[in-house]
C-alpha cells in the first residue's frame, strides 16, 4: 500500500522558491519609481532607496545605478567608489572557474525557471560605458591622468565586446548551418521550434517592429562605442599621450562621420593626418569641450507574450523588452543667440536594441524552455495528487495553486530583471576654440547658467546633465 501523500508537502517548493527569489526583494525600486524621482528631482529620496537596494543586493546594476546617480549630483568621489564596486563585481565574475557551479546553476535556472537567476553582468556597451562615465568623474576632479587610465580600460572593454560578439555570431551561424544540414538529411531537431527568431519576432511583442527597423539593422557593425573613443582622444591628448589619442580619434572618425566632423571643426582641416594638436592652440584662445548627457537609457523589463501551441491552445512566454529611453527637451548651449553645434555620439537606445536583436534567438529558446518547465511542474503536481486516493479530489485546486505559484515566481523574476537604467539616453559632444573671457550660457526652460572661458590654462570641460524638461545641472573644470 502506498504511503499517503501529505498535501502540505506541496508547500515546500513554494517556500524554497519564495526564499530564493524573495530574498533580495525587500528594497526593490521599480523603473517607474526611478524615472519619476529623476524627473521630479527627488534625488535624496531616490538615493536613499538606491543605497538600500544596493546594500541589500550588491549587484552590478544596483552599483551602476547608484554610481550614476552620484555623478548626476556632482559627487565625483562617491561615484568613483561605486563604479569601483561595479568593476569588482565584473572582475569577480570574469575570474570565476571556467566551469563554475554558479554559472551552471544560473544557466539552468534561466533556461528552466527564471531568467533572472543567471545574474546580470552587463552588456558589452554597459561595461564599456562604465569606464567612460568613470573617466568623466576623474576629469571633473581635474585628474586627467586618472581619466586616461579609465579610457584605456574602456578600450580593452570595447575589444572584449567585439570578440564576444564575433564569437556569439559565429556560434549562431554554425547552429543555423547545422540545422540546415539536419533538415536536408531529414533528421530535424527534436527540440520544439517556435519558428520565431530575431528577424521574425512573435506577434504581439512590443519590440517586434523596432528590432526590424531599417535604421537599427543598418547599425549591424555598432559593436564599438563612438562617444567613448572620442572622449578618449580628448583626455589622452590632455595628459600628453598623443599616440593613444590619435588611435582613439581615428577609431571614432571611422565609426561615425559626426565624430570626424566634430574633430575637423575643432582641430581644423589639417586633421587630414588625424594628428591631435597639442593644446593650447593660440595664446588668447581657450578650448571648450562640452559633454551633454541627456535623458535616461531604455529600461529592461519582462514582457508576457502569448504564443500559439501546435499541440493545443496557447503558451505564455516571458521575453525581455525595453521601456523606451527618456529623451525630452535638451538644454541649449549658446553664446548670445548662436547655439553651439553638438554631435549626438552616444545613443544608448540603439546600443540596447541592437544587443537585444542579436540575443533574440537565445531569448526565445530559453523563454519557451521556461514555459515548458512551468507547464511540466503544474502537470506533474496534478498527476501526483491525482494518483493518491486521499488527495484526488484536490487535483483541480492543486493545479490552480501551482499555476498561480509559477505566475508569482515569474512576476518576482520579472521585477528583478534590470539593466543600467540611469545611463543617459543621448550623449552629445562638441569642441570649440573661444576667446578668453567669452561667456557661454546653458539654459533649459526658465533656468540658465553662465560659464566664462578662463584667462589662464588650456581650456575648460563643461559637463551638462539633464533629465526631462526640468532637471538640469552644469559643472565645469578648468585644465
Amino acid at each position: 500500500m502506498s504511503k499517503p501523500l501529505r498535501p502540505e508537502f506541496l508547500l515546500w517548493p513554494f517556500l524554497v522558491c519564495a526564499l530564493f527569489f524573495g530574498g533580495g526583494c525587500a528594497a526593490s525600486l521599480s523603473t517607474g519609481e526611478l524615472r519619476g524621482d529623476l524627473l521630479q528631482g527627488n534625488l535624496e529620496r531616490l538615493e536613499k532607496r538606491m543605497i538600500e537596494t544596493n546594500e541589500d543586493r550588491r549587484e552590478l546594476v544596483t552599483a551602476l545605478n547608484l554610481a550614476r546617480l552620484y555623478q548626476m549630483q556632482g559627487r565625483w568621489r562617491d561615484s568613483i567608489d561605486l563604479y569601483g564596486q561595479a568593476i569588482a563585481i565584473i572582475e569577480d565574475y570574469e575570474q570565476r572557474a571556467i566551469v563554475n557551479a554558479r554559472g551552471v546553476l544560473g544557466g539552468v535556472g534561466a533556461a528552466t525557471l527564471a531568467r533572472g537567476s543567471g545574474g546580470y553582468y552587463g552588456k558589452g556597451y554597459e561595461r564599456t560605458l562604465l569606464h567612460t562615465m568613470n573617466a568623466i568623474n576623474y576629469a571633473m576632479l581635474g585628474d586627467f591622468s586618472g581619466a586616461a587610465v579609465e579610457m584605456r580600460r574602456m578600450e580593452q572593454r570595447q575589444e572584449l565586446w567585439l570578440e564576444e560578439k564575433e564569437r556569439r555570431l559565429n556560434e549562431l551561424l554554425e547552429e543555423q548551418a547545422k540545422k540546415k544540414a539536419e533538415a536536408a538529411e531529414g533528421k530535424g531537431s527534436k527540440r520544439p521550434d517556435s519558428g520565431y527568431s530575431g528577424d521574425n519576432p512573435p506577434p504581439g511583442y512590443s519590440m517586434g517592429a523596432i528590432l526590424n527597423d531599417p535604421e537599427l539593422r543598418a547599425e549591424a557593425a555598432a559593436y564599438q562605442e563612438v562617444f567613448s573613443y572620442a572622449l578618449s582622444s580628448v583626455f589622452c591628448r590632455l595628459v600628453g599621450d598623443v599616440d593613444y589619442a590619435e588611435v582613439s580619434l581615428r577609431r571614432a572618425g571611422r565609426l561615425d562621420e559626426a565624430a570626424k566632423k566634430m574633430f575637423r571643426l575643432a582641430w581644423g582641416d589639417g586633421a587630414e593626418h588625424w594628428r591631435p594638436k597639442a593644446p593650447p592652440f593660440k595664446r588668447d584662445r581657450r578650448e571648450l569641450v562640452v559633454l551633454l548627457l541627456n535623458g535616461v537609457a531604455p529600461a529592461l523589463k519582462m514582457e508576457r507574450i502569448r504564443l500559439f501551441n501546435p499541440f493545443g491552445g496557447y503558451v505564455l512566454i516571458d521575453l525581455p523588452a525595453y521601456e523606451p529611453a527618456l529623451t525630452e527637451e535638451r538644454p541649449r548651449i549658446r553664446s548670445g543667440d548662436k547655439d553651439f553645434d553638438l554631435f549626438a555620439l552616444l545613443r544608448t537606445q540603439v546600443l540596447a536594441y541592437r544587443e537585444l536583436k542579436d540575443e533574440m534567438n537565445y531569448e526565445l529558446a530559453t523563454a519557451i524552455s521556461r514555459a515548458a518547465t512551468r507547464a511540466a511542474i503544474v502537470a506533474g503536481g496534478q498527476a501526483v495528487v491525482a494518483a493518491h486516493k486521499q488527495t484526488r479530489d484536490m487535483t483541480g485546486l492543486v493545479g490552480l495553486a501551482l499555476s498561480l505559484g509559477m505566475e508569482a515566481i515569474s512576476a518576482v523574476d520579472a521585477r528583478g530583471v534590470r539593466n543600467w537604467e540611469t545611463l543617459p539616453a543621448v550623449g552629445y559632444m562638441g569642441m570649440f576654440n573661444l576667446p578668453s573671457g567669452f561667456e557661454i550660457t546653458v539654459s533649459m526652460g526658465d533656468k540658465a547658467q553662465t560659464v566664462r572661458m578662463p584667462e589662464q590654462g588650456r581650456g575648460i570641460l563643461l559637463l551638462v546633465t539633464s533629465v526631462g524638461s526640468e532637471q538640469m545641472r552644469v559643472d565645469h573644470v578648468e585644465y
Partner: protein, 199 residues
Amino acid sequence: MSGTITLWRGLAFGALLSLALSAAGCGGPNVEYGDPGAVETVTSAWGSTDLQGTAEKMAQSLLDSRYIAQAQAQPKVRLREVNNQTDEHIDTKAITDKIRIKLLQSGRVRFLADNANLNQVFAERDLTEALTRRGENKLLADTDYIVTGTVRSIRKVTKKAADVYYLITLELVDPQSAEIVWADEQEIRKTSSNPKVGW
C-alpha cells in the same frame, strides 16, 4: 493532525537552518599584522611587491650611476612626475617617494621639493622673502638633475588566463642641457589563470 505537526516541524527545521547559516556569517573580520615585505599575489594588478621591487632596483641603479657615484659634491635632484600610461590607477608618486627615501638615506644626493610640496615651499618662500628680501631663493631653481619616468603596461586577457607586463622607465636629465644622463628600466610580468572547476 499528523500533517499539521509535520508542517510545523519542517518550518521549525527551516528556521533553525536559516539561523545557523546567518550565525555563520556573524562576528567581525579577522585582522592580522603581516610582513610588509612579503610577496603579494592577491591579484595580478600592480601591488606592493611591484612597488618595492621597482623602487629598490631603480634607486640602486641610480646610486651606481657615475653621475651620482662619482660626483664631486652631492648633486641636487628634483623628482618630476612619473607618467602613468597603464590601465590601472597606479599612484606613481609612491614609486618616486620610495626612491627618494632610499637615495636620501644613502647620503649621496640632495633633493629639492617637487611639484607636490612646492606650493608649500612657495608659501614659505613668499613669507621669508617678504621678511628678508634676500636673493638666496634662487637656490630653489638650481637643480643639477631632474628625475622623470613612465609606467606602461600591456595586458592580455582570455577567459582562461590573464597576462600583464609592466615596463617602468626612469631617466635622469640635466635640465640645463636637456641631456638624458642616465636611464634604467624595470620589467615585471604577471600571469594569472582561472581555475578549471569551482564555485
